[in-house]
């Protein structure tokens, strides 16, 4: 028989609930479910019992189409630029500064040299924080006084890297709400002045629906080139990966799985898909 909307209703609703319980934003869950419905309506089945496994495998394919991973070293090598600068952006407390330290360790393990730009000149303790990481990693950090222009710090760090033949500049920025126009304008200015080779959006995987808004708004402000999701070790199901990927269609490079420098792993879409289907 040919599947009707009515036949699919129960399975589709179950999949939408599965997505939402894994922290996929409502709008994305609905969008994916309606795409799944469009795909499946009219397909022929022998028995009604075949519906769920059929929907499941179509669902799996749909999720695979909507999740992309990426390799940072490949991206860096491909551009062949020295220094190659990476700007880390995102809302407050998602793990940007800690992620910079992890990425630094990762890149240094692959023989690259780097310098930090302490371009969060606003938050209490932000400069001391990145300085501690820099000292532990034996990396130079360029910083100005609190209250200084973040764009100037980024610019300075890039100049320093150029003059000292350093491979990479990792630029830390202050956390900010995507709804704060003043701070988003400031971010745009930092981006314009620093003109980074890669901008990485750092998202907290425990975030709910707001992950969608964050990715969309940040992406309108400065183009996001890639994503890192943190705090996976807190047992997040990773639905934010789907929300973010579906909306800005950029690769997720890494997952943060703890607070130590070693706690970073390449993103594997299968992991999220298994959480949703399992």
């Amino acid at each position: 028989r040919e599947l009707s909307e009515k036949d699919l209703e129960a399975s589709l609703w179950n999949f939408q609930v599965a997505l939402m319980e894994c922290d996929v934003a409502l709008l994305v869950a609905e969008e994916l479910t309606s795409r799944l419905k469009a795909k499946m309506v009219g397909t022929k089945v022998k028995r009604l019992g075949d519906i769920t496994p059929l929907v499941q495998s179509a669902f799996e394919d749909l999720l695979k189409e909507n999740l992309a991973s990426g390799d940072l070293l490949t991206i860096i090598k491909a551009k062949g630029k020295k220094p190659f600068s990476i700007m880390f952006i995102g809302v407050n407390g998602t793990g940007k500064t800690t992620t910079i330290a992890k990425v630094a360790r990762y890149l240094m393990d692959h023989g690259l040299t780097l310098v930090f730009a302490a371009a969060d000149t606003f938050r209490a303790g932000s400069e001391e924080q990145i300085e501690v990481h820099a000292n532990r990693l034996n990396v130079k950090v360029i910083k100005h006084k609190y209250g200084a222009d973040p764009a100037a710090v980024a610019y300075d760090a890039i100049s320093y890297a150029k003059n000292n033949n350093i491979d990479l500049v990792l630029i830390d920025t202050a956390g900010r709400m995507q709804t704060d126009k003043g701070l988003m304008d400031q971010l745009q200015k930092i981006y314009r002045v620093a003109s980074p080779d890669l901008s990485i959006f750092v998202g907290d995987s425990l975030t709910g629906n707001d992950a969608l808004q964050q990715a969309e708004e940040f992406n309108k402000c400065v183009p996001i080139d890639a994503v890192i999701l943190t705090k996976i070790d807190a047992d997040s199901k990773g639905g934010a990966a789907i929300s973010i990927s579906a909306s800005i269609k950029k690769p997720i490079l890494f997952l943060g799985v703890g607070q130590e420098y070693k706690d970073i792993i390449p993103f594997d879409p299968e992991w999220v898909i298994n959480n949703v289907l399992g």
Binding site: V17, M20, E21, C22, D23, A25, L26, L27, V91, N92, G93, T94, G95, T97, F122, R123, A124, G125, S126, E127, E128, Q129, I130, E131, V132, H133, M177, Q178, T179, D180, D204, L206, T207, G208, N209, D210, A211, Q213, K231, D233, A234, D235, S236, K237, G239, A240, Q259
Partner: protein, 293 residues
């Protein structure tokens, strides 16, 4: 009379379930979608939906209220009820005595920043404030809290060389008690439900300093993990109150409902920005209205 019979017949037609069911389903769906987008727990939303549907199909419409208004009122009342009712107590601590508040929560939720907000709030009540940095893990934690303490006008205690957070907490509280500080806030490192030794560190700190209040600082952007995470903290030490942060963005904070359900702890304050003055007393009514969009 004829007009009376016609009148009641018309009323019956207007009340006919055939007319209402489709409208009701749509109504429930709208409310469901608003709550889901606000990060309310999925199971809770589906459960609420069943309750509303029952109530608005069975109950006679009070005069002058549409079925949509009744549905929203039913959800509003139920959620405000879950949050302890719309009579927010104005948080107060006693003068001339010592109150010890222990801040706990997930990494990055806003504990350290909220310590400065609590300082701002309670200083206005004329209370003397002391902040203890019992986070000896995070890079720059000492400097962050010390800078905030200076800005907010609180005494600060920290120990860069002590590798034992329990000791730092104990020594800090002791030092502030001796100084007669009225409100002592102990800030801790972030931790989550899977870090069992970090969670047991919380019970050790609580055992050492005997706090009057353990405040869970919860990120307002948290999604479906809110319930399990809050449960884990509550199973470690009884959570007394909740501070819900980052509500100045677009997130509605629906996860907080699960945290309240899990801990039975009231939400006392919300954070509405990065500055220390960006703190508000929690109002269940305003919170729920925002959840419902």
């Amino acid at each position: 009379s004829l007009s009376g019979a016609l009148g009641s017949a018309i009323k019956k037609v207007l009340r006919a379930p055939v007319v209402d069911e489709k409208v009701v389903k749509e109504l429930i769906r709208d409310i469901q979608r608003a709550l889901l987008q606000s990060d309310v727990n999925v199971k809770l939303v589906l459960e609420l939906s069943k309750n509303i549907e029952k109530k608005i199909l069975e109950e006679d419409l009070p005069p002058g209220i549409t079925r949509r208004e009744l549905a929203i009122k039913v959800v509003y009342d139920e959620l405000v009820g879950l949050l302890g009712g719309d009579k927010p107590q104005l948080p107060k601590y006693p003068k001339g005595r010592t109150t010890i508040v222990l801040l706990v929560g997930i990494q990055g939720s806003g504990k350290t920043t909220s310590a400065s907000k609590l300082t701002f709030y309670f200083k206005k009540q004329g209370l003397s404030m002391g902040l203890v940095c019992a986070d000896n893990f995070r890079a720059g934690a000492y400097d962050q809290l010390s800078q905030l303490a200076t800005k907010a006008g609180a005494e600060f205690y920290g120990d860069r060389t002590n590798s034992n957070a329990v000791d730092i907490a104990k020594n800090g509280v002791k030092a502030f008690k001796e100084k007669g500080i009225e409100v002592i806030i102990v800030d801790t490192a972030g931790r989550h439900k899977n870090e069992s030794d970090l969670l047991s560190e919380i019970s050790q700190i609580a055992e050492a300093v005997k706090p009057d209040e353990i405040m869970l600082v919860l990120d307002g952007t948290i999604g479906q993990q809110a319930m399990q995470q809050a449960e884990a903290f509550d199973q470690t030490t009884k959570i007394g109150t909740i501070f819900l942060t980052k509500l100045d963005g677009s997130a509605k904070g629906g996860g907080a409902l699960s945290a309240v359900a899990a801990t039975k702890a009231p939400i006392r304050f919300i954070g509405t920005g990065e500055g220390m003055e960006e703190i508000e007393v929690f109002s269940p009514g305003r919170f729920v209205s925002r959840l419902l969009g």
